[in-house]
């Protein structure tokens, strides 16, 4: 299998009182086994909706189409509800920013883990119990037997996220989708959880689709990066190229807008003017042009396409081929 996940021309439409909006607009990308792909973006970029669409968790109002999603070689967009539920957990599992959205407050960790194990690993009874403890240890929880008897509220945020990861890996999924998994955590706990995700990748060749707004997390984790803005991919390349030679003015702007800890002299951050556009009121032409320092006439009238600016480096900008916009 060449790719764990293949997404082709995915569009998600939400119907609202003020007409249809498209939080995800014609997205294509693929994830290889064992690869960590980061989707980086801000509010309204479509990064979370993309992740929900993959497992068909959009709920009422959100419609996929057109577009194709292939998970572990199988077309997901044509599957029934039951088939989908099976694919979730076995082929792909998801972890969210807030672990309590996944955990049931009135069941013990053991109850919930055994349920996940029954569904995705087909084990019951003693075997399920032993596997539950093993999963917790895999997720870095030393006192596994004790934690199995505890309720979610008695655990810290970091411990809860470890439990959710343990549940997610019960079916040995080929792909783990993590939507801002460390955003609600303190930095020392974040470092632990990121290390855990890296270990899953090395030990089990688990592919990870990591959704984040934090360029620091991207630099720590990604093999490849998709930068999203207002529902579209605006840049895609490997992590080193992205940090060495970002081509899209938005990516460049983001990098200069984040304060870095350095012992150099005091400096002034470079702010991106304006704010993230509302997906119901997107500007004409390039969606970034109202905030772009280099915007030209063409950018205001005509939407740029995502095209290769260098080998394996895609960018959606009319000016990217020219001398770097400063």
């Amino acid at each position: 299998m060449k790719h764990v996940l293949e997404i082709e021309e995915l569009t998600v439409t939400f119907r609202t009182e003020n007409g249809d909006v498209r939080p995800v607009d014609d997205i294509s990308f693929a994830v290889r086994p064992g690869e960590t792909v980061c989707i980086v973006g801000e509010s309204g970029s479509g990064k979370s909706v993309t992740s929900l669409a993959i497992l068909n968790l959009l709920g009422k109002g959100g419609e996929i189409g057109p577009g194709r999603i292939r998970l572990a070689g199988e077309q997901l967009t044509e599957k029934s509800g039951a088939e989908l539920r099976k694919a979730r957990g076995k082929d792909a599992a998801m972890i969210f920013q807030e672990p309590m959205t996944t955990l049931n407050p009135v069941l013990t960790i053991g109850d919930q883990l055994r349920e996940a194990i029954r569904l995705h690993a087909g084990l019951r009874g003693k075997a399920a119990n032993a596997y539950a403890a093993e999963l917790l240890r895999e997720a870095g929880i030393a006192r596994a037997e004790q934690v199995l008897k505890q309720y979610p509220h008695s655990l810290s945020g970091g411990m809860r996220q470890r439990v959710v990861i343990a549940m997610a890996i019960a079916g040995k999924p080929k792909l783990l989708i993590a939507d801002e998994p460390t955003t609600a955590l303190d930095v020392t706990v974040q470092a632990q959880i990121l290390a855990l995700l890296k270990r899953l990748r090395t030990d089990h060749d688990t592919a990870i689709l990591l959704i984040t707004h934090d360029l620091g997390v991207v630099a720590e984790m990604a093999d490849r990066v998709l930068v999203m803005y207002a529902g579209q991919i605006v840049e895609e390349t490997d992590v080193f190229t992205l940090f060495d030679r970002p081509l899209h003015p938005y990516t460049r702007g983001l990098m200069k807008a984040v304060p870095a800890i350095s012992d150099g002299p005091d400096y002034r951050l470079e702010a991106i003017p304006g704010s993230v556009p509302d997906i119901g009121r997107l500007p004409q032409g390039c969606r970034f042009h109202p905030r772009c320092p280099a915007a030209a006439d063409r950018c205001r009238g005509e939407m740029p396409t995502l095209t290769p600016a260098a080998p394996a480096h895609l960018v959606r900008c009319w000016l990217a081929g020219q001398s770097p916009a400063s």
Binding site: E42, D186, V187, K198, A257, S275
Partner: protein, 346 residues
């Protein structure tokens, strides 16, 4: 930025300040213990500086900020504004000081009345403190909204019509309305989009220069604190464990906790991802029953018997640290047997 003068009277001083929250249990709501959110903090804030306050959730940084402004009742200790003790002043006697000490919040949406226009919101503190009549207050509000970079037309609009960054600008304009000397900024950029955070940091910097403001800048993100602060204090379980000039603290942290906090922060450079990451073991202990001696000893890789028995005092002048065995050298080298644990898989 003007150099803050250490000889000057501190604009704000806290002496052994503690804020406890009672834990109530049972039918009779009896107090069975206390959460020691802030526990014996002594610090000074000098005119013109920005004191960064960092620490992880539950360390007491926000409670300290609120207690310093007398928005929380201290359990013990004293607070001085420009040399005057204000710890026990009644609300009426505190009033003249209130205008000089203001606060801005993380979520400006939650702190802005949705039924009031931006102009009314900014005029409100002026009216509440009887600093201006209605017409005058609204006129001033228009000027303040312009000062924080909002278009003139925004005075008549309601909070929901603004973006997150713009709402934070309204929050800042409100704080500025009563011409404060010191503003406690509690996570002012944490809820904002990354691309907008820099705008607000710029605004705070520019206002500081133009209006001679002093800030206490509370945040969990070390990047923003490093960027904006003159000095930085690190909190752990209700106490300050280290306080120093920004450069000294980030270049050569002396407390093992500070070192770990810096080390655990993600670095925006993929070529440094292989570096050894050192993190404290386990979870933060409960603030209702903090560990004996040094509060960090349960998670400290170099804790000694003395650390369990004896609470270290915050000492050392300009670079003060509360540790019996402070680290030396730079952040990159191994010192004092501080064990490096490879948690980063390559």
């Amino acid at each position: 930025m003007p150099e803050p003068s250490r000889e000057a009277t501190p604009l704000l001083r806290a002496d052994q300040l503690s804020t406890y929250y009672p834990i109530r249990r049972g039918v009779w709501n009896r107090t069975t213990g206390y959460i020691r959110a802030v526990d014996g903090v002594t610090l000074e804030v000098y005119p013109g500086e920005t004191l960064g306050l960092v620490g992880e959730s539950g360390c007491g940084k926000s409670t300290l900020g609120r207690t310093l402004l007398r928005l929380e009742e201290p359990h013990a200790g004293r607070i001085y504004y420009e040399g005057d003790e204000v710890t026990t002043l009644t609300e009426r006697r505190l009033r003249p000081y209130r205008t000089h000490y203001q606060m801005i919040f993380q979520d400006p949406y939650a702190s802005l009345n949705p039924r009031m226009t931006a102009g009314e919101l900014v005029a409100e503190p002026l009216l509440a403190h009887r600093l201006a009549g209605k017409g005058e207050a609204l006129r001033l509000a228009h000027r303040l909204l312009e000062l924080v970079g909002l278009p003139r037309a925004s005075a008549g609009r309601y909070p929901h019509q603004f973006s997150g960054g713009q709402r934070q600008r309204i929050g800042i304009a409100r704080a500025l309305a009563v011409t404060p000397k010191l503003i406690v900024c509690d996570e002012p950029v944490s809820a904002l989009d990354v691309s907008v955070q820099a705008q607000i940091l710029h605004l705070l910097q520019d206002l500081q220069r133009e209006l001679d403001l002093t800030y206490i800048f509370i945040a969990h993100g070390l990047g923003a604190v490093h960027y904006i602060s003159t000095r930085v204090a690190v909190m752990y379980l209700g106490t300050i464990v280290e306080i120093a000039d920004k450069r000294a603290l980030f270049a050569s942290p002396k407390h093992p906790y500070t070192r770990m906090l810096l080390n655990a922060s993600p670095v925006s450079d993929p070529r440094r991802r292989g570096r050894a990451i050192l993190v404290p073991e386990g979870d933060v202990p409960s603030a209702s029953n903090p560990p004996s001696g040094c509060r960090f000893h349960t998670r400290c890789p170099i804790a000694m018997p003395r650390c369990v028995a004896e609470e270290p005092a915050l000492t050392g002048g300009a670079h003060a640290v509360a540790c019996h065995y402070p680290l030396g050298g730079t952040g990159e080298e191994e010192t004092h047997g501080l064990v490096r644990r490879e948690t980063a898989a390559r």
